[in-house]
């Protein structure tokens, strides 16, 4: 009897389920309002900012509803692929600036070249505008930029008698970090796979991640310059307890620093907000300095990171999507975003918005030595598979750097040329 009861019950449930689910996703409701679907990345905007922006946007555009869904960086390439290829894609997607080329090449993005003026294209940051363009057409609209700086604990520095302003060279940096790395305190929390930081060290030495010759890209981690960059990374990584086998997202380094036992992390300045949010006791105890270079007169090289906004070719509401982008990248909200999240605004003319911000000041120093990953559709495949991370872990756990670097370079070469 029990069985039949159970089965009968589940038939009912199932019937309810099917009827509940069969209504198609209908974004245009009866009263003529349209919903613009937006994908933003985790930590790209704060909750408060998102709410304020949405409320303001919907007030100014009463016919448009905004639906923002937050995506994780992990596996995002695959997710965007699936979205671009579907019939009912989101209207606006935030994509990392290194990813846009690949999607642009595939024909899945809307060409926004003719909206460039409307969107203040004249003074976009080149670090965002160039990766957003492919074969002369503009697909990605610059959203924000950020590069990495050192976030440090002022109280711990004071206690150790270190003046952060004095740290101008790598040697001084290592020296100070060694002194901080005592007792329960980690001098620096540097997870083993923070490859953007490694890239900076390699650029400092004059090396690169990959080089092009005759239209063919090949990995360059096994050059003497790149190996020196890795050696420095290894030296620095040992001055703390960062896990050798994961990146800064696993566990999120802001959470680790919020636990109060870490003197420094390498992060975008916005990370400081997250740290304070997790542990309010650290409010006022965090400050920034640019990543030191090899000598005092050049700051450390950094990767110019950031995001572009793209509109899928399959988007249902391209016009509303552009309206959304226009608002989010317009003067008002760019300034607010830059201040709230410590980003570099998407246009040079807005730089003054964050002039008073210490994080932005530290970023600006580094930005002078800003670099980008190879601007080719093949690069996204490297990031998706990321042999660089495996290489770093292998070296940090005792592998032979030259051998591992040669292997990783081969993998990069293969990945970059797999698509062609």
């Amino acid at each position: 009897m029990k069985y039949r009861l159970l089965a009968g019950g589940s038939v009912l449930v199932m019937a309810a389920a099917l009827s509940a689910c069969s209504s198609p996703s209908d974004s245009a409701s009866g009263d003529g309002r349209t919903t613009v679907d937006v994908w933003l990345m985790r930590d790209s905007v704060s909750d408060t900012f998102q709410k304020e922006f949405t409320a303001d946007f919907e007030k100014r555009h009463p016919k448009i509803d905004v639906k923002i869904q937050i995506q994780e960086w992990d596996g995002i390439g695959q997710k965007i692929t699936a979205a671009l290829a579907s019939n009912d894609a989101p209207d606006v997607i935030e994509a990392g600036n290194t990813q846009v080329a690949q999607f642009a090449e595939s024909g899945g993005l809307l060409d926004l070249s003719d909206r460039k003026d409307e969107l203040n294209g004249a003074d976009w940051l080149s670090g965002l505008a160039e990766p957003g363009a492919y074969e002369g057409k503009q697909y990605g609209i610059p959203y924000y930029a950020a590069n990495r700086v050192v976030i440090y604990r002022t109280d711990l520095f004071e206690k150790a008698g270190i003046d952060a302003k004095e740290i101008k060279t790598r040697d001084q940096w290592v020296d100070a970090t060694t002194r901080l790395n005592q007792g329960g305190t980690q001098g620096i929390y540097l997870p083993g796979q923070m490859w953007y930081a490694l890239a900076g060290f390699i650029w400092d030495e004059g090396g690169d991640l990959a080089t092009e010759s005759g239209g063919k890209w090949s990995g360059a981690l096994d050059t003497p310059e790149a190996l020196r960059g890795m050696a420095f990374y290894e030296q620095l990584q040992a001055l703390g307890k960062g896990p050798k086998d994961s990146d800064e997202d696993d566990p999120p380094q802001a959470e680790v620093m919020a636990q109060g036992k870490v003197a420094q992390v390498i992060s975008t300045p916005g990370g400081a907000n997250v740290i304070v949010e997790k542990n309010p006791e650290l409010k006022g105890k965090l400050a920034f300095f640019p990543i030191p270079g090899k000598t005092a007169d050049t700051p450390g090289s950094v990767f110019t990171g950031g995001s572009d906004l793209v509109v899928p070719a399959a988007a249902a509401h391209p016009d509303e999507a552009v309206t959304f982008i226009k608002e989010l990248t317009g003067d008002t909200w760019q300034k607010k975003l830059a201040v709230a999240m410590s980003y570099v605004p998407n246009r040079t003319s807005l730089a003054s918005a964050v002039a008073g911000d210490p994080g932005a000041a530290a970023m600006a120093v580094g930005a002078a030595e800003g670099h980008a990953t190879p601007n080719t559709p093949g690069w996204a495949a490297v990031e998706a598979e990321n042999p660089i991370k495996d290489y770093m872990t292998a070296v940090l756990t005792g592998g032979d750097p030259a051998k591992e670097a040669a292997k990783a370079s081969q993998d990069i070469t293969r990945a970059m040329n797999a698509g062609s």
Binding site: M14, S86, N87
Partner: protein, 287 residues
Amino acid sequence: MSTRTVRPVVPVRPRLRRLPLNIAAAVTVVICLFPVYWMISTAFKPSKDIQSADPQLFPHTWTLTHFQRAVDADGFALFWRNSILVTLGAVLLALLVALGAAFAVARMRWKGRRQFMLMVFIAQMAPWESLIIPVYIISRDTDMLDRLPTLTLIYFMITLPFTIVVLRGFIGTIPPELEEAAQVDGCTRTGAFWRVAMPLLAPGLMATSLFGFITAWNEFAYANFLIIKQQDNRTLPVWLSSFQNTFGTDWGATMAASTLFALPALVIFLLLQRHVTSGFAAGAVKG
């Protein structure tokens, strides 16, 4: 029921003789249960005890905060509901379709029977991981992306071949004479089957649906790739796999979420343990 112990020919001190056996049994139990236990106990421990250099085998203090965090997380109830709906839908559909097919195979003689079973066996081995892209394309072209019924249909197909094989085994164990007797009493053939064989089949149906349930409840790859824009339609495995991104270092909440995800399967399996363990002997294995 007689114990099937192999009795020693020469009665030596039986207790001592059984000691290695009992130790082996204890080790098996510990190995089987430890991960399950560790998941549940971590879920109940306060965070500071979880992240300590000295893990406690038994929680000193118990807390429900991790469960609270997991349940309060965005959309947890929704994803739980989605998983249940999709799974039950797939299992019931598979049972219904498989019952007909299994009956035809076990009770009737017809041309192509052998070929049909071959097809079922092959289908059981289908390389589902490799079919994601074509299934994606087909769903897109028929406007079935982002929808739970699509997942239901796929899970139905994943579990169907197995269900047919097992049910056929069960039907095979019911003597046709019972139905024939009923037919003599004036029932139609189908009527005889429903009245006489079905009650006997109940345990078989239960056992079969368990396997279907666990397969569908677990499925990750399709749920991950076919639900794109309507994130409210995600299922638990997908949510759980992204849980670490959302909750960071909070292993307590992660384990609480895992516990809540595993719970239905654990409870159902434990309750129906007897059918689970006998299911294969009577069903799949005797083919």
